[in-house]
Amino acid sequence: MRWIRFAVLVGLATIAQAGFLSNYILKPDLHIILLVFFAVYSSTTDAIITSFTLGFAADLIGQSMGTQMICFGILGTSIAYLNRVIALRKVPYQIIAIFAVTLIAGFCANTLNSMKNVSTITYSSIMKTAIYSAIVGPFIFIPCIWWMRIKTPHHHRRF
């Protein structure tokens, strides 16, 4: 795992999410896309670290500290373990994973925020973000694979 490259990527994603994308209502959740990306393309140990780190980054620009970190940590670890059983290398699986993780993370974060008496976001906006993230996610994976220098296995056609 190239941790410096990972830090740069997380930093850029956080700035883009809080800056560039903040002017949009309909926007993807870059942190969740990266969460699924690292859960799929890195080792389980790395996936755990990246999940919590991405959760921390999401909390820095979110409603309160800790909520996203908990949700991302649990979901990222779960995806990483799931990836050991069912390889999520195919785009449709990745779309489903991003969609499900965004929904679950959104609902869990809302629940944790409401327990802390912090303002929550509407469920309709969580759904919109989930759909948008699921569509955009696989396209963001491509530059991420290049940036993280991840070697994907070559599929050879067998005759």
């Binding site: 949009y24 309160s64 670890t77």
Partner: protein, 283 residues
Amino acid sequence: MAWTQIKIRIIGNSSKRAGSLSRRMLFIWCMLASVIFYMIPQNSSNKLQLAFAHVFRVPLSASREISISAGAKQQHDDTVPKKQYDELKNRYANLEQQLIKQIKEFRRLSDLNSYVGQNVDYILGDVIPAAADNQHSELTIKCRGTTGLEKGQFVLARNNSIIGRITDIFPQLGTAKVRLITNPDSNTAVQIDGLNKKLYMQGNGDNTAKISMVPKEQDIRIGQQVFALSQPGFIDSDMIIGTISRFKQDDKAPLLWDITVKPAWELEELNEIAVIISKQQKK
């Protein structure tokens, strides 16, 4: 070939056990850190968020500006521009004030109904402050509507005491002139509490009124209440008009009392009034 070798190494028994153990500990420690962050009070965690925003303020603002300059800012469906928001906010504040005023009027009418009786109606109004004429003991009132207003009708103060009678109505302006009981031209039939005798009270023009023709043998005390007598078509029952503030022997007629009455209201404090309209008058 290389891929197969990596797979074999991961699945290897000893490394799997060691790896899973460390992963579990890693997860627990990370989770613990998350819970600690979650448990931190909101004020403290906000500082961390603000610190991030402060440190990265330049790239954050640049990033925001890029999207704005690209014309990518979307119009929120459920929001309005600031100018319209301010306008709506002011309109809401005005409506709220109107509602409060109407609730007050409703309560006042309920109070009046329970106080005077069911055979009368009321028109609520406000005193036009600049029109209050202390010298001539007259004031102008602005009513919600002038339909039903007639000359001679009694006007009540906020404290349910008689302040005077209507002398002029200006339907175009929605106003009416009230001659106060302290006006020298005013002559009101009254009764002193405890005296079973119809008397007449005349204004002095100095914010007091006087009652004459009270024989000296009558027991008069300072503070005794004076009531306007009921008049069919105007008021159904006696209503308080003031209290005796002073009494002395009449200079012109030594066998009579010269009684000064202080109104039950203060001219400066008159702002809300109610005109009593008898239901007989309405018919």
